[in-house]
């Protein structure tokens, strides 16, 4: 083995224990995130049982509720043995194996009752925790003294996963109205995962480095260009813990948990994570960037996993919102456009054997959230791609809808020939809630028949035309071009693309972007 230079070791240890900038955030941040995300207590179906069993066995009722939440989300489960040596779990408290037998005995119920009956199950779990606490000599009035007891109850050997489990119980404790503190107490036990403080591209993430990555190509094919949305087909802890295991031979850059309370970063964005097997095929992606065909899709993408299943009927709003904030961060840092060609589902690019994130991922609303996090509103030429609360469009029927030239925003674009007397402009309207400065951009698709001087009129909610800006639509298709920056009043302001000009060219109405 190579010898570590001594100073590096010293820095690492110092960083782990209370440096001003937290470079080793995993368990501590997990605890903090849990506290911040769960300030509002909510009743469980078993509150009275937790209270009674807690009093009987000298275990804080909120802690019982926390364990129940972490294990089963307060549901009665009937387990099946899933792995040799890992007995099936039962009841609200997911009691299993020897712990179930012991708890049942201590609580004076049969093992069968402890499996099937919620009260017996919770009492048996409380009795086991009581016994563990006595054996550990825990000072029961202090929540952090319970960390080792709860860790033993969870039967998890890997320190990082143990800390994550305690973070989950903490969250359950907070939901039950208690004061969490288990994960914070365990922070010192967990190894500092990485001395590389520059690893985190998304500062709010917990750094859980995966060995499953390699280098992106150094030529144009390796430039970061797309975000791929996945679902794990499992829960959060099961997802990231598998993807940091070298045996899995798979990874993602990020994993977002079910509640939007936590994001893990497993691979640096500059590195090539292993989340999508498909070679790129532009026919699966609105014929965008066909020059990338047959490039391995990991080469140029950032992969984001979401705890959950492609078969879900819906996704939690908080998870979608956290994911959208993350995607805003990635796309802003990497200069990736926020549209449906650049933020894409795994199943879309790999239809042969993947469907994730599934038919119920709310693609349009999700993109609107991403855009909102990045302070932009986009008005498309088709209403279905607009957030009607802030963006509406009016395109007269004299304009033709098509998707012939790729790299449009939304599902296509409209075009119309220029005419000297035309008055039927395409109008993109957007709501400004408080008067202020806005930068407006336009997007079109290019072609030799396009107008070299397509005119965009900027019109306030009061009907005042602030400017008319001419652009050359023969070039620059598929990307945003600034029209200018204006101070706009509150209300529905608008940008009108005019047809009126000498005949012989076409103007393309695709989309308008409003930036704060």
């Amino acid at each position: 083995m190579t010898a570590w230079p001594k100073p590096a070791l010293v820095v690492l240890v110092a960083a782990c224990h209370g440096a001003p900038v937290e470079p080793c955030p995993s368990p501590r941040a997990a605890g903090i995130a849990a506290q911040q995300a769960a300030p509002v207590a909510r009743p469980s179906p078993f509150d009275s049982v937790f209270a009674a069993a807690g009093a009987e066995f000298h275990v804080p009722p909120a802690l019982l509720a926390g364990v129940g939440w972490a294990e089963t989300r307060w549901q009665m489960v009937q387990g099946a043995e899933e792995f040799p040596g890992r007995p099936a779990a039962f009841g609200v408290m997911a009691l299993r194996g020897a712990a179930l037998e012991r708890g049942a005995s201590l609580a004076g119920v049969t093992p069968e009752e402890a499996r099937r009956d919620a009260v017996a199950n919770i009492r048996a779990a409380a009795a086991v925790l009581d016994a563990y606490a006595s054996e550990a000599g825990a000072a029961r009035e202090r929540i952090e003294q319970w960390s080792a007891v709860i860790a033993r109850y969870g039967e998890i050997g890997i320190p990082a996963a143990q800390a994550a489990y305690l973070g989950q119980v903490d969250r359950g404790v907070a939901l039950a109205g208690g004061r969490p503190g288990l994960a914070v107490g365990s922070a010192a036990q967990a190894a500092c995962p990485s001395p590389d403080t520059a690893a985190l591209d998304y500062p709010q993430a917990i750094w859980r480095p995966s060995p499953n990555f390699d280098q992106r190509p150094t030529d144009a094919t390796g430039a970061l260009h797309m975000v791929i949305i996945h679902t794990c087909e499992s829960n959060y802890a099961g997802c990231w813990s598998w993807l940091v295991n070298s045996v899995s031979q798979a990874s993602a850059h990020y994993v977002v948990d079910e509640d939007g309370a936590e994001v893990s970063q497993l691979v640096r964005e500059r590195d090539r994570a292993w989340h999508i097997a498909a070679l790129y095929d532009c026919t699966l992606n609105r014929r965008h960037d066909c020059w990338r065909n047959d490039v391995q899709s990991n080469d140029f993408t950032v992969g984001i996993e979401h705890a959950g299943f492609a078969s879900q009927a819906s996704f939690p709003a908080a998870q979608l919102d956290r994911s959208a904030a993350l995607v805003c961060d990635v796309t802003r840092d990497r200069g990736i456009p926020r549209d449906w060609q650049h933020i894409v589902g795994h199943g879309q690019l790999q239809p042969a054997n993947r469907t994730d994130p599934g038919p119920n991922w709310p693609w349009i609303a999700y993109l609107h959230r991403v855009q909102a996090w990045c302070g932009e509103v986009i008005v498309d030429d088709s209403a279905q791609f607009n957030d009607a609360a802030v963006a509406t469009v009016s395109v007269p029927a004299t304009w033709t809808a098509t998707d012939t030239t790729p790299d449009y925003y939304g599902g296509g674009y409209r075009w119309a020939p220029t005419q000297p007397a035309a008055t039927d402009a395409a109008v993109f309207s957007f709501l400004v809630t408080a008067a202020g400065s806005r930068t407006l951009d336009a997007r079109w698709t290019s072609g030799t028949n396009r107008s070299p001087q397509a005119k965009y009129a900027v019109i306030t909610s009061a009907g005042v035309t602030l400017a008319t800006v001419a652009v050359d639509q023969r070039i620059g298709g598929g990307s945003w071009h600034a029209l200018g920056t204006w101070t706009l009043p509150a209300g529905w302001n608008r940008v009108a693309l005019l047809r009126r000009d000498a005949s012989g060219a076409v103007v393309v109405a695709d989309a308008v972007r409003v930036r704060e």
């Binding site: 099946a80 043995e81 899933e82 792995f83 040799p84 040596g85 890992r86 007995p87 194996g97 020897a98 179930l100 037998e101 093992p111 039967e155 998890i156 050997g157 890997i158 996963a161 499953n212 390699d214 996945h230 679902t231 794990c232 087909e233 499992s234 829960n235 802890a237 099961g238 813990s241 598998w242 940091v244 295991n245 070298s246 045996v247 899995s248 031979q249 798979a250 990874s251 292993w274 989340h275 999508i276 097997a277 498909a278 070679l279 391995q296 899709s297 990991n298 996993e305 959950g308 299943f309 492609a310 078969s311 879900q312 009927a313 795994h346 054997n353 993947r354 994730d356």
Partner: protein, 193 residues
Amino acid sequence: MTPRVVRPGILVVSTLIACHRDQPRQADPSGAALSLAAAPQDTAFPGTTAPIHRARPIRPGVPPALLRAVETSSGPGYDRVVFEFASDSVPGYHVAYMTAPVRRCGSGNPVALAGAGRLVVRFEPARAHDERGNPSPAERERATGLPALKDIKLVCDFEGQVEWALGVAAAAPYRVSETTAPARLVVDIRRRP
């Protein structure tokens, strides 16, 4: 509760040891006995070289079926792979010969296999690791060296799909059969006469 109860810490350690084993293990004779009991004897089945597909419903919140064991063996006129699951029944599966290179589902990197044919067996919803991240089975590839079945490699254990690539001597006819209790999928590859 049962004699098989193992403390998870110990389980992790033993798994890690298993992971670091560099040499693929040969087929276990007891595994051969196990798999031969799972399907009727047949020395000259017609089989097929076409894909065989069987979908199962995927329900959210229900954990994917856990692969418990993979055994390879040699029968009269064919070589056999048995995939055994810890669930009540076999998950959905898709079996097909591939002409394109086999790729790992995460990295997309090509996987080299012995033999001239590549038979891919994909399960869904399934996983080959438990919720604690322990691989199951720990052995992820095996050079069998059998007449028809040259080697097998796990090429995917990601997002609810488990995929094994079978390197076979030639793209010969194969058949599949299912059993329950235990839940097994048996794949037989016919030998060249």
